[in-house]
């Protein structure tokens, strides 16, 4: 592949992104501004994640890309092919074999280990965005640890729905300091944020990168009398029978037929194989 520099981006850009990543790792949960580039895909399709992946990939890496847990959906397939063509790296669908995993909206079921990197695609990095429209003000609030407003959102949830109805992009507090949006992962995945792998978050349109070093303490916000509860559909997977994995609901006909299957396709397929 001679037409592109390794992993599409030029070396100076990758250097700039790596500096942002290092700063993000040094201040867990802090949103580091970076000069996001135009990528050959529309904003909202993972331009932030792709840039972060491009900056951390080495020729020896094995890449896995998932979209809502699945390896075979449009977004995952096209980003995987993008890096196959521009970086020539090995790709895999196996969570355990990947060294870099780019993900949209899920954390794999299989626990990640030290040495792995997981890259999240982030649409809106600012957890306070819909509460306080001014970016100047939200940055000040982060700087001064002025987070009362975050609980106002949870309060509103309880007063309107009787329970904390926020089901994804559930705000977390990192190491007792920064409040962070974990990207739109289901809150079922929030407890997994406390992991052994390096977690990097890239928001292309919003030009922000943030990160969690391994074993960072991540606490989901809640009230004393309404504690945080990770939730999932109350079923077993129709294919592999797992009762502990996050499920997608599939409509199978127009007569009310539906099935629940694992959203993590690799996890599900592995379990089916093992059972056979």
């Amino acid at each position: 592949m001679k037409e592109y520099n390794f992993a599409y981006l030029d070396e100076q850009t990758k250097r700039m992104i790596r500096r942002a990543i290092l700063k993000g790792l040094a201040i867990p949960g802090y949103q580091v501004p970076f000069a996001s580039r135009e990528m050959p895909m529309p904003y909202g399709w993972g331009t932030g994640g792709v840039q972060v992946s491009a900056a951390v990939l080495t020729p020896d890496d094995t890449l896995k890309v998932i979209d809502q847990g699945a390896d075979d959906t449009t977004n995952a397939v096209s980003i995987r092919r993008f890096f196959q063509r521009t970086a020539g790296v090995a790709v895999t669908e196996k969570t355990g074999e990947a060294s870099v995993i780019q993900t949209r909206h899920r954390i794999p079921e299989q626990a990640l280990r030290e040495g792995q990197i997981i890259v999240y695609q982030v649409p809106i990095p600012e957890p306070l965005r819909f509460l306080e429209p001014s970016e100047v003000e939200t940055r000040k609030m982060h700087a001064l640890e002025d987070y009362g407003l975050m609980h106002v959102k949870l309060y509103e949830d309880i007063s309107q729905h009787g329970d904390i109805a926020t089901a994804y992009a559930y705000p977390v507090k990192v190491e007792g300091r920064y409040v962070m949006d974990p990207s739109p992962i289901p809150k079922f995945d929030n407890p997994k944020l406390d992991m052994a792998a390096i977690q990097l978050f890239g928001a292309g349109r919003e030009q922000r990168i943030y990160a969690l070093p391994p074993y960072t303490k991540v606490v989901s916000l809640d009230f004393d009398d309404y504690p945080f509860q990770p939730t999932k559909a109350d079923h077993a997977c129709a294919l592999c029978g797992s009762t502990s994995s996050y499920l997608d609901e599939l409509i199978t006909d127009d007569a009310g037929g539906r099935m629940f299957i694992c959203s993590d396709t690799d996890y599900c397929a592995t379990r089916v194989e093992d059972a056979a």
Binding site: D146, L149, V152, Y155, E156, I158, S159, F223, D225
Partner: protein, 256 residues
């Protein structure tokens, strides 16, 4: 008795123009002071400087903090000033929209200050919100409505509840009755007077409505073109104005 707020030689300029200048006064606990004057006389500039929204160019604003006595809020760090802003101070805006979160329910609005000082028990927060809505005469069944569904007078009362829920010691009010019709004004004033007396609040009220200060304020400061032209007890200033401008102001009030 030590003053709650001590203002010394305060000045704020907008370029070459004077916002307010040469303002000094002491405010004692439980005292309500009125600031009157025409539009553009520097009342709001002064209030914003006192409340830490604007940085004065000169002078000191010392507030008697609970922990270490008189502290200059001008040179204080931003986090400390904000902490005061959500605990010991309250600011009631002229337009309720400026002081409320219009897309958050009434209960959430009242609870915000509590949550900002680390209240983390939903039941307690809600109970306090209901209690405060009751005190400002908003019925309990409106707690989950948004302020957009409230009338102007209700919005203003909600703003007051939201500000007083953390038990502040000093309330800044910028034309609290502006834009309300007279009967609603009267009820609001009644409510404010009750709250100020019951809670032993100190307050600084900026207004151009002399009836408001007559009813609420113990002391009065008259401003004109950024300068304080007359100070004194409210009744004394209003009944026996000394300065030409004050005389004009008092005689300008329409008699029905």
């Amino acid at each position: 008795m030590t003053p709650l707020l001590q203002v010394e030689n305060l000045a704020k300029y907008y370029g070459a123009r004077i916002g307010c200048t040469d303002v000094s006064f002491d405010l004692y606990p439980g005292e309500v002071m009125g600031i009157v004057g025409e539009s553009g006389s520097g009342k709001s500039t002064l209030l914003n400087c006192l409340a830490g929204h604007l940085r004065p160019d000169q002078g000191a604003v010392r507030f008697a903090t609970r922990s270490d006595g008189l502290r200059d809020t001008v040179t204080m760090s931003e986090p400390e000033r904000r902490m005061l802003g959500r605990t010991d101070w309250a600011f009631v805006h002229q337009h309720a929209r400026d002081g409320l979160r219009m897309n958050v329910s009434a209960g959430g609005n009242v609870g915000e200050r509590l949550m900002a000082v680390n209240a983390r028990h939903y039941g307690d927060i809600r109970e306090q919100a209901i209690d405060w809505l009751g005190r400002v005469e908003i019925t309990q069944d409106r707690i989950d409505d948004r302020p957009t569904a409230f009338s102007g007078g209700m919005q203003q009362r909600l703003q007051i509840a939201r500000n007083l829920v953390t038990g502040p010691r000093l309330v800044f009010m910028d034309e609290p009755t502006g834009g309300l019709d007279v009967s609603v004004q009267a009820r609001l004033l009644d409510l404010l007077r009750g709250l100020v007396r019951d809670m032993g609040l100190s307050a600084i009220i900026v207004t151009h409505d002399l009836a408001v200060v007559r009813l609420l304020a113990d002391r009065l400061m008259v401003m004109k073109d950024g300068h304080v032209v007359e100070t004194g007890l409210t009744d004394q200033v209003l009944d026996d104005p000394q300065h030409g401008y004050t005389q004009l102001l008092v005689s300008s009030v329409l008699q029905v």
